[in-house]
């Protein structure tokens, strides 16, 4: 069968909402795009453990500590689901990890911001996980089967993350003036970076067109961002807090909230590696990988020894 037919058949399957599975024929660019997106997503889950891990030993109570531990463990699990999904496209786990460490692969820029206070843990759950969920709910319907299945699993668990975040802030919002100030400060610092999580404006996003055609993505960056703003602008009222945007205003004609301009210069700076914690995050990942090297080798050696022993017996 000539190649141009395969491509047409592929697009027909996509249009009929038939999922693409690992052994199916797919255009190279489809494979590459999925590989890039899924591995970046996996890296984001893993690097995302770092800012929150910072507060495990500093959590204000045993209950909060147990919750945070469970949440960070979930993020590790999410990273693993996604690495597995990416591996079905033919790249090894180690290759992906090497690409992260060498700087070739990217992860969500949001994790290059520091967690300065306990309220940041609440703000991350509410805003950062909230923004991630918008994206992930859409991705449960993505056209690549293994990615879609990983997303279903992740979305089931993610809801706890967002709820615990909001509840953490809710407790602070009813606390002392200092606690209320801490709550507001965290919202102020995380709001704009959370909006940036949806990526560049549609007019500037380089990956969107094909991604939509192939149904890897089903909503544009701007659509998802608007949906997020509309949701959070209502929820923040329940906290009695403000979003740090004077331009935020309900627009009855559009049936959406209007909001101010995002500082794209900051976004690109952080993407390029100049955010507050880029260097620290990568160093932490590399350190963990290198210091775990002997464990990986020892376990492999132990397994190999057992195999020969069992054969001899």
């Amino acid at each position: 069968m000539p190649t141009y037919d395969l491509e047409k058949l592929f697009q027909e399957r996509i249009d009929q909402e038939i999922k693409i599975e690992p052994k199916d024929w797919m255009p190279d660019a489809y494979r590459k795009t999925n590989l890039r997106q899924i591995s970046q997503h996996a890296h984001s889950e893993i690097v995302g453990m770092l800012p929150e891990g910072n507060w495990i030993s500093r959590a204000p109570s045993l209950k909060r500590k147990a919750i945070l531990l469970a949440k960070v463990q979930d993020e590790a699990g999410h990273g693993l689901y996604l690495y597995s999904a990416a591996e079905t496209l033919g790249q090894s786990r180690e290759q992906m990890i090497n690409d992260l460490h060498s700087g070739k692969a990217k992860y969500s820029s949001i994790f290059n911001y520091p967690t300065l206070t306990w309220a940041d843990i609440g703000a991350i759950g509410w805003l950062v996980d909230g923004a991630a969920i918008m994206n992930q709910v859409m991705l449960t319907r993505t056209s690549y089967g293994p990615y879609a299945r990983a997303m279903v699993r992740i979305c089931k668990e993610e809801s706890f993350h967002q709820r615990q975040g909001f509840e953490t802030l809710l407790v602070l919002s009813k606390g002392t003036p200092a606690q209320r100030a801490m709550c507001q400060d965290a919202i102020n610092r995380w709001w704009w970076p959370a909006l940036m999580m949806f990526g560049p404006r549609d007019s500037e996003s380089s990956n969107s067109d094909l991604s939509m055609k192939w149904k890897i993505k089903r909503k544009s960056n701007d659509e998802l961002r608007q949906q997020f703003v509309d949701m959070i602008a209502e929820q923040v009222k329940l906290l009695g807090m403000q979003l740090p945007d004077p331009a935020l205003k309900w627009n009855a004609a559009r049936n959406h909230y209007d909001f101010g301009d995002i500082n794209w210069e900051e976004f690109w700076q952080v993407v390029k590696g100049n955010g507050p914690c880029n260097k620290e995050r990568l160093e932490a990942r590399k350190k963990a990988w290198e210091e775990g090297q002997w464990v990986r080798e020892a376990a492999a050696a132990y397994a190999a020894k057992n195999k020969t022993r069992n054969k001899a017996a």
């Binding site: 599975e21 052994k23 199916d24 024929w25 469970a70 463990q73 979930d74 699990g77 693993l80 689901y81 597995s84 999904a85 591996e87 090894s92 786990r93 180690e94 290759q95 090497n98 690409d99 460490h101 060498s102 700087g103 070739k104 990217k106 299945r149 990983a150 699993r153 668990e157 993407v271 390029k272 590696g273 880029n278 260097k279 995050r281 990568l282 590399k286 990988w289 290198e290 090297q293 990986r296 080798e297 376990a299 492999a300 132990y302 397994a303 057992n306 195999k307």
Partner: protein, 120 residues
């Protein structure tokens, strides 16, 4: 294993990171891949849920517990090394399933019966 240390995130373009050469160096230490199957409750089949890396079967089961059953999703776990799985080829699906396509009489709906016939 040699890791590239001098580069930081975002500093280098796609082609020039040197990551390509690392594959062959590190590939040997990659633990094998295992497919994980979970029985969600007694009476149901084990169902494929995903995969993971582990050095041996015991570790694969323990990792599967941590990765796939954190919320009591299972009462039993199977793990199989992915390399042991033999799969049909989707490109040959037409020929492979051909014997089933022209046998509509295998389905109960093929048979037209009077409405008076009950419980059939």
């Amino acid at each position: 294993m040699q890791l590239i240390r001098k580069f930081f995130y975002g500093d280098i373009p796609d082609g020039a990171s040197g990551a390509e050469q690392q594959t062959s160096v590190t590939k040997k230490t990659d633990w094998p891949l295992w497919e994980v199957f979970i029985r969600s409750k007694q009476g149901l089949d084990h169902k494929h849920v995903g995969s993971l890396h582990a050095a041996d079967a015991q570790m694969a089961i323990e990792n599967a517990r941590d990765v796939y059953t954190r919320r009591m999703e299972g009462v039993s776990i199977w793990v199989v090394e992915s390399s042991q799985i033999v799969a049909s080829n989707p490109q040959e699906a037409g020929e492979l399933y051909e014997p089933a396509t022209d046998k509509v009489y295998r389905h109960p709906t093929f048979y037209d019966l009077p409405d008076e016939v009950k419980h059939m």
